[in-house]
Symmetry: C2
Subunit: 216 residues, 2 copies
């Protein structure tokens, strides 16, 4: 029942062209408009609150608000409850993103970005401990996402990262050996400074080849 | 209150290592375990049902289930309630995906896939009506996603498509003129048949250049 009412509520807001900031009718009025009980309306409203589509404001009652676009996604990204195939799919999705970023990065990179990457790369040369290596890896690739200037893509990658690491760790547990990339962060940085987006794509593909080797 | 309880419920399932298919405690027991009212538990459970994390089974009560990974995302993807910046970000995210697909496509393409693309391309040559052109465009690019064999990526693109089209339509309303790609679907298909992933990336970038021209 809440499924139906939740859907009807979303359609109701759409049909009446509610926009973020608009006050929405009270629970009781909605119950009357949709001909259902107040309890069911409350339950459906609670779902929309979780998605950030509705906010309760002091004195103003409820208003429609701009939803958290990945709020629901974030809540379900638990490796323990997702199927193996879905985890594998998400692993590949992150590879696809990583390979598709080049054009946005070259469109928007700044001198400051290059300096930041240089700092990250310089820190990596003296690292032996695995946990530091992983952190450095995350810092370098995270910075590349940041350089796109696209906060939605940045957030998406941040959410996918733990799944990516989980899949890698699981495979290593099962004895999968990762070969070492012939292209390093230093090479990628050099191309960002003096190369083209096309060269960067090719180099990134080579950098990620240990992951591609194990896809079928 | 439901926010807190919803979070605690998710943590509770995680801590107790519940897996899809496992029966979960009754509403009343959960209310006792979390020391909150039954109404609040019901509300929180309803939210998790929306995400597909919980299912009600006849005779078996509630069980934990594999969530719909993009269920929440799908519900909030309404251009009317998202900020302009978010819409623009999602537009770019789809471009990034499109540019990043090449390696998966070349890894998994089959003769049947090529035949399907040939059919789509052959239908496009005699088309003049805009609505048919758009449909053909969607069919061609949709087929490329299908060729990755990755259902999560396919679903994600299907969800992003209406947002992508909305952004293009809005820009055209505001007088933005789209130039015509020098690389056509026929060229892309030829590379899929006889070329390399690297060539495909370059060609896809050129095919999408009308969209890139208007990004800053």
């Amino acid at each position: 029942m809440a499924d139906v009412v939740e859907k009807r509520l979303r359609e109701y807001f759409k049909k009446n062209a509610f926009r973020p900031g608009d006050p929405i009718p009270k629970e009781m009025e909605l119950a009357e408009a949709l001909q259902v009980s107040r309890n069911v309306v409350r339950e459906a409203l609670s779902r929309l609150k979780m998605l950030g589509m509705i906010e309760s404001k002091k004195k103003r009652g409820m208003i429609l608000s701009e939803p958290d676009i990945f709020g629901g996604f974030e809540r379900v990204l638990d490796p323990l409850i997702l199927e193996q195939q879905t985890l594998k799919d998400l692993f590949e999705l992150r590879l696809v993103l990583e390979l598709g970023l080049a054009d946005l990065i070259f469109l928007r990179k700044t001198d400051k970005d290059i300096q930041d990457l240089e700092k990250i790369v310089s820190k990596s040369t003296n690292i032996n401990k695995t946990s530091f290596k992983v952190k450095n890896e995350i810092a370098f690739h995270g910075k590349l996402y940041e350089m796109t200037g696209n906060h939605t893509i940045m957030r998406f990658q941040t959410l996918l990262m733990p799944i990516f690491e989980y899949v890698v760790a699981e495979e290593e547990k099962q004895g999968a050996a990762y070969s070492i990339s012939r292209i390093t962060h230093i090479d990628l940085l050099e191309i960002l400074k003096n190369g083209s987006a096309g060269q960067f794509k090719e180099a990134m593909r080579a950098h990620l080849s240990p992951h591609f080797e194990r896809l079928i």
